[in-house]
Symmetry: C2
């Protein structure tokens, strides 16, 4: 085991983030997807660092990498720390790997300081959180939690390969890696991916809940027509209807504290400058700490959109793509995490996570807690994603403090 | 020359429209573009029909087909009738060819009835009105009118071929085919491409003017952000801004009688459901019988859009793509055409042409008039474009009446 000076550990994390950021499925940009060659190389690299740190390492057939800092107490329970090692296409280097490498660095500090833990400390790098390859998120954590379904197994990637074959055949659905009650908790450090900590001038925050999220496709259908020859009053323009809907989404979202609603994607047919739009499809993404608030806003939007479509002689439909309930973080673990944060900075802001995380799945198996780390301009899923080394240092100290206090 | 019974001529036009509708650059759909192989085949077919009808035929190197029913008076002036034989991509069969074939059928009726005209009757099939190949409309009529510019010559098609080479080299810019004063007028029959005649329950109308048209690109730029983690009040969403603009376009257009304004095309970046839009580009198309009304509406939209962009912390720009002045039809020719229409139906509605036509160019060379023919549901630029045979028959009778009265 290599010896590192205490003050160098955050620097090591930064260095390792840079090295993982070079391991990609695509030249020139960072893209690392479920069970790709780049993913195997990244796993092998992190495995080497784990072994150097004295961890026992296992990689399951779903590509999840687990390193264990074993407690001398054989019947000890396990604290699971980590995040994911896969990325979106053209990603930044922090979303995911930061949480894995902070957990590993914490193990290194604990070993260096000869801390004997009354629990095993497992560091996990999930193989799929972003869902790029199979358009289905959380495949890594679902495998760990024994939540992969028969339906999942039949998903196909862009090349047509079924998930079941990609993970190596007919061993049936994976069982949960941990028995009920075996885990003390799952704790994940992750970049905030939003601007709230930056606006507050603080490096760290704790997460109270992962937001409920509903995704829909809204479709307005009217009648195409010549832009020069169809009088305004005879038009059935799908795009003016869709625009009124987008304004409605913005207005109604603003009426519920903490709720966010977004139309980010739009498809217009035929999308020609001199033809009135026949059909417009819009994405609708609504999130809030309470599932009921999401449902209420979606319901209201559906009603108002039906009225505006009738008034404009358009047809309207709202098709559900995905819906997930809000997931609460464990109050006890979160309080301990907040106390560890408060030793690094004046206060520990409590945030809602608008983005989904592996904790959504792990919450079915264990109490969860999350540490958010400030990122520049709230930017994520972008090569310019950035976290200051000082903030990584604070996050590492908070994580080590949390583990030591829990011990 | 084949003999046709009088009552069969409209049927022949319908039959010929069907045959031309089969001559396409692309299998399965109708697409016929400037100087393509399909265009040459279509020209050869119409040329054969023209020769059968006793017309003298010429095809110029720009692909314009001209058939002349020569007057016995050698010093006679010329009445030019016709339309264009090119089409948009995935076109209907009436837009363009209807006007050429009606003019040809009128010649056939006049010859059959041994009408001696005091003017030459030229039937023209322009080779490019839609501008598909070089993204520049009216190449055919511009060549006839001597209005091709040195700039036009350097346009390139998708394959990179310069227009100058495509039309066969270095003979310089084409001169006008007709001397000043040589043309009595240019009269074009064309489908309405709008719903006004259908709403009025009438087959035919005459055109008072071809609308002024301005085309712009409006661009809103904000800041991308995560749809789940960026609070509503911290957003700089380019798509909500663009939507407010689209509603503004609709509202302001409705305040000016007869004005139409359309956003038909939209491009969102990055156009992902869980990312707030960074940049939205919109097409803006504004038309009216008075050029000044178009300019006033565009000016007001620019001002209001700047205000809304400021309020939303977006940047905004409005880039002119194209602008054309309104073109008036000749009152005297139009009155004669209206009188001919009134012999076929109870009244002759006077319409503004919101679409551009070859008459825009020909108006530089001659007085122009246009006959509009009802089309089903106002639909055009679409394979379902349709004109009832009865309406084609009425149009033919109106056209023949007009020519005979003019003689």
């Amino acid at each position: 085991m290599t010896f590192f000076h205490k003050d160098d550990r955050a620097g090591t994390v930064v260095d390792r983030l840079g090295r993982l950021g070079e391991i990609s499925d695509e030249p020139g940009v960072l893209t690392r997807t479920f069970l790709s060659d780049a993913m195997a190389i990244a796993n092998a690299q992190v495995e080497a660092w784990m072994r150097d740190a004295g961890l026992e390492v296992d990689i399951d057939r779903w590509g999840n990498l687990i390193g264990r800092l074993r407690s001398p107490q054989p019947s000890a329970r396990t604290l699971l720390l980590g995040s994911h090692l896969d990325t979106v296409r053209n990603a930044g280097r922090y979303d995911g790997p930061l949480g894995v490498l902070l957990a590993l660095a914490a193990c290194e500090e604990l070993r260096r300081d000869d801390v004997i833990l009354p629990f095993h400390l497992d560091v996990i790098g999930f193989s799929d959180e972003e869902g790029v390859r199979f358009h289905s998120a959380y495949l890594g954590s679902k495998a760990i939690a024994g939540l992969i379904t028969a339906e999942d197994i039949h998903l196909r990637d862009e090349g047509g390969a079924p998930l079941g074959e990609v993970v190596g055949g007919s061993e049936g659905l994976p069982h949960a890696r941990y028995a009920p009650g075996e885990l003390l908790g799952y704790v994940e450090a992750h970049i905030e991916q939003g601007p709230v900590l930056e606006a507050a001038g603080l490096a760290l925050g704790v997460v109270t809940a992962i937001a409920a999220q509903s995704r829909y496709t809204a479709i307005f259908t009217g009648l195409a027509g010549h832009a020069g020859t169809t009088p305004m009053n005879l038009r059935r323009d799908a795009l003016t209807g869709a625009s009124e809907f987008i304004s409605l989404v913005e207005r109604i979202a603003g009426e519920t504290e903490g709720l966010v609603a977004t139309v980010g994607q739009i498809k217009v047919e035929p999308n020609i400058s001199n033809v009135i739009a026949q059909k417009v499809s819009l994405s609708l993404d609504v999130r809030h700490a309470q599932s009921s608030s999401v449902a209420a806003v979606v319901g209201r939007l559906g009603q108002e959109a039906t009225l505006l479509a009738d008034r404009r002689r358009l047809s309207f439909s709202l098709v559900k793509i995905q819906s997930s309930e809000a997931v609460d973080c464990d109050p006890s673990l979160t309080t301990r995490l907040a106390q560890a944060v408060e030793k690094q900075q004046e206060r520990a802001p409590h945030l809602l996570s608008g983005a989904g995380h592996d904790g959504v799945i792990l919450s079915r198996l264990a109490p969860i807690a999350m540490l958010f780390v400030r990122c520049r301009a709230g930017l994520s899923h972008h090569p310019d994603e950035h976290v200051e080394p000082e903030d990584i240092s604070l996050a590492l100290r908070a994580l080590v403090t949390f583990i030591r206090e829990l011990a």
